[in-house]
């Protein structure tokens, strides 16, 4: 017999009384529009880009997006402006430009 496990997993039974668990389901923008956190905006120079996709790979927020032809672009709704993409780009095709003109 297999105690403690149903065919697909353990038995999930609803808790009794007031219950809260620190559980979440990953979803786009689960923490809100994180683009508003950004102080510097990555701007991609398509002339310089060699489509190596390093920025796409390294972006911690999955906000470097990839077109059919492998040209990359930024999802500014959620990009936090960390600058990792700019720092990994081997040809300096990404420039971090101050947002709101306030930080020069």
């Amino acid at each position: 017999m297999s105690v403690g496990k149903s065919a697909r997993g353990p038995i999930v039974e609803a808790p009794v009384g007031f219950f809260a668990a620190p559980v979440s389901h990953p979803a786009p923008g689960a923490a809100g529009k994180t683009g508003t956190w950004r102080d510097y905006r990555p701007v991609i120079n398509e002339e310089k880009c060699v489509k190596c996709l390093l920025c796409w790979l390294y972006c911690p927020e999955d906000t470097i997006l990839r077109r059919e032809d492998d040209m990359v672009y930024v999802d500014y709704e959620y990009c936090k402006g960390c600058g990792i993409c700019a720092s990994v780009c081997p040809v300096n095709a990404i420039e971090m430009v101050p947002e709101r003109g306030g930080l020069e």
């Binding site: 105690v3 403690g4 353990p10 219950f19 620190p22 559980v23 979440s24």
Partner: protein
């Protein structure tokens, strides 16, 4: 049912086997080691079908079983003293995640200096983590509590992990006859594992992500609510277990010689045996003394302690640990519950395994009763029951607020 001669540690191992635990991970530390040795042997011979995970530390051991439990496995670990302190961060993670889990803690003093003998400092160090914390008095109870721990922890009214405390060497390495229930009986009594959620690719659940402060507050409130509900569950499980296996312990508090008692010894762990002997001796001398053995330090059995205090002339609380700069941790809970209701003395004894006899306990109680009868009311939160060779050389009663 079979009667076997088992050490406290083997009693834990047999209970873990009977609960059909699926994942075990632990790092060896005296006096816990033989629990895991026995379990590895059972896994090796195929007697227990579980995964035994070798790890580099206690921090990793608890993280491993916590991970397994989050994924849906019935999981178990055991530790003691410094091992428990090293786990401490994950102890918090496991409780606040609301994932059922069971851990045996073989109570042992904390260094420096090195000391492998019993006191309760390691267990009380975990007091505020959100684990259900029980402490056994003898080997049979160790087995019974370990089995019950799975039932309590996995109850949807609780969903909190549970520690089973047993005193180092006094129980862990001392043999005693233990009734070991049959596997079929346990299978029938212990329901399949339940938990509030589990983490797997198909559930897409993430645990522990950052939350807004107000929601964090409510998570803490929810843990306290579960602790309150656990009191009822513990009593129920104790009663049902008694019906099925013939042994009940009175739930959160085991009261001995309590019916007509004027004074109560409040104590937890194996030295409750000495306390009971002391109470019997004192009764022969005409003192009406009972013993309230605290079986669960969390959730705190406040209602029962308050009830006792309301009809008592006095309580003598024995602590095998101290909160430096304050008082004994058990005393703190008793005083917070019963302050103003009766006279109290908080005794610190048996640190680092230093010996406390039934006569020692009787002496302290006799002295306390004398003082209460003379003064009418006594509040002595810190009374040192020094080891015999230091007695009389220092001031036993300290004036502290």
């Amino acid at each position: 049912m079979t009667v076997m001669t088992l050490t406290g540690n083997y009693a834990v191992a047999y209970a873990v086997k009977l609960a059909r635990v699926q994942v075990i991970s632990a790092y060896p530390i005296t006096p816990q080691t033989t629990i895991v040795e026995k379990l590895s042997e059972m896994v090796d011979t195929g007697e227990l079908k579980a995964k035994m995970v070798r790890v580099e530390s206690e921090h990793a051991a608890l993280a491993t079983v916590f991970g397994a439990a989050s994924a849906g496995a019935r999981a178990f670990t055991a530790t003691a003293s410094h091992g428990l302190l090293y786990m401490h961060e994950v102890v918090w993670w496991a409780a606040a995640s609301r994932i059922p889990l069971v851990m045996a803690v073989v109570a042992r003093a904390i260094g420096p200096p090195w000391n492998i003998h019993v006191d309760h400092q390691d267990i009380f160090d975990q007091r505020d983590t959100g684990w259900i914390i029980s402490v056994a008095q003898e080997n049979q109870e160790v087995l019974d509590l370990t089995l019950q721990a799975f039932r309590i922890s996995e109850d949807p009214r609780v969903y909190l992990p549970m520690m089973v405390g047993l005193d180092g060497f006094i129980l862990s390495h001392t043999m005693a006859p233990v009734d070991v229930p049959d596997q079929e009986e346990v299978d029938d009594w212990l329901p399949p594992r339940r938990q509030p959620y589990y983490i797997a690719p198909e559930t897409g659940v993430v645990m522990g992500n950052i939350v807004p402060d107000d929601d964090y507050y409510m998570l803490r409130y929810s843990m306290q609510k579960a602790m309150e509900q656990a009191k009822k569950v513990i009593e129920e499980v104790d009663r049902e277990y008694g019906k099925r296996f013939g042994r009940s312990y009175g739930g959160l508090v085991e009261c001995t010689l309590c019916d007509d008692a004027d004074y109560y010894i409040v104590i937890t762990g194996s030295w409750a045996g000495e306390a009971k002997e002391a109470a019997r001796k004192l009764r022969e001398e005409g003192y009406r003394v009972g013993v309230a053995r605290i079986r669960f330090i969390r959730p705190w059995p406040g209602e029962m302690v308050r009830e006792l205090a309301a009809r008592a002339k006095g309580l003598v609380v024995f602590d095998r640990a101290i909160s430096f700069g304050s008082k004994g941790p058990l005393f703190l809970d008793v005083a917070a519950t019963a302050y103003g209701l009766t006279s109290m003395r908080g005794v610190i004894g048996g640190l680092g395994g230093s010996d406390v006899t039934a006569d020692d306990i009787a002496g302290v109680v006799r002295d306390f009763v004398g003082e209460v009868e003379e003064k009418g009311s006594v509040y002595e939160p810190l009374y040192w029951l020094f080891p015999a060779k230091y007695r009389g050389k220092f001031e036993a009663k300290e004036v502290v607020a």
